[in-house]
């Protein structure tokens, strides 16, 4: 497909369970981002991958959150021992990873709505 895709679209889980959210970036995009959108906190940056560089994990809210990007393409965001406050829409974005002054526009996927009961 032409755009960023995410799966599942919706996920309902019980408190304490682990969940995995998947993101397929636009082909050829070297940069990938995860954001969280919740009622109380708005849109927050979580983590950023750029090529083979070490990821910027500065936005991850706790050590229950982790993410990986395999082969420089698909990314998985994992939340362990989910809590009710983890309920949110998790958005993935990708960009070309342009350097040297170019605007590096991020294109977003449709998000995964996570509900923790």
């Amino acid at each position: 497909g032409a755009g960023v895709s995410q799966s599942p679209s919706n996920k309902v889980t019980e408190k304490g369970k682990d969940v995995e959210l998947r993101c397929d970036p636009i082909s050829g995009h070297t940069a990938l981002y995860w954001y969280r959108q919740s009622l109380g906190q708005g849109l927050e940056f979580l983590i950023y991958f750029q090529g083979n560089s070490a990821p910027d994990k500065s936005g991850l809210p706790s050590d229950r959150f982790s993410a990986e990007r395999t082969g420089g393409s698909v990314s998985t965001l994992t939340i362990q021992r989910t809590q009710q406050e983890d309920s949110a829409v998790y958005l993935c974005a990708s960009s070309l990873g342009l350097a040297g002054g170019s605007t590096d526009t991020q294109y977003f996927g449709p998000g995964t709505r996570l509900t923790v009961l």
Binding site: T30, A31, Y33, Y35, G42, L43, F45, Y48, Q50, G51, S53, D56, G59, V89, L91, A93, S95, L96, G97, L98, A99, G100, G101, T103, D104, T105, Q106, Y107, F108, G109, P110, G111, R113
Partner: protein, 118 residues
């Protein structure tokens, strides 16, 4: 750290009329980029318009235009000839320029809900 403020939680406009959404930001950076994203009920964030801080000329994209005031750190969005399909949440976002590396995180405002009435 950067902050982005959208002071209007909700706005309504009649179809074919014009609406202006405000956005202010706080940064010590000199080189950066500003964006407006639209999020309809489908949840898909769609880029509306972008502005490079080093450009004095205001960006325009069809019915969408911005008023970028760098000294005032203001970046408002004007939607002209509003259409029913413009009904959505609108987010203002900031990204600082990084010379050596590519890409950077977006800092978002709280959003403005726009309702276009027939």
């Amino acid at each position: 750290a950067q902050t982005v403020t959208q002071s209007q939680p909700e706005m309504s406009v009649q179809e074919a009329e014009t609406v202006t959404l405000s956005c202010t930001y706080d940064t010590s950076e000199n080189n950066y980029y500003l964006f407006w994203y639209k999020q309809p009920p489908s949840r898909q964030m769609i880029l509306v318009i972008r502005q490079e801080a080093y450009k004095q000329q205001n960006a325009t994209e069809n019915r969408f235009s911005v008023n970028f005031q760098k000294a005032a750190k203001s970046f408002s969005l004007k939607i002209s000839d509003s259409q029913l399909g413009d009904t959505a949440m609108y987010f203002c976002a900031f990204m600082k320029h990084v010379r050596e590396a590519a890409g950077n995180k977006l800092t978002f405002g709280g959003g403005t809900r726009v309702l276009v009435k027939p």
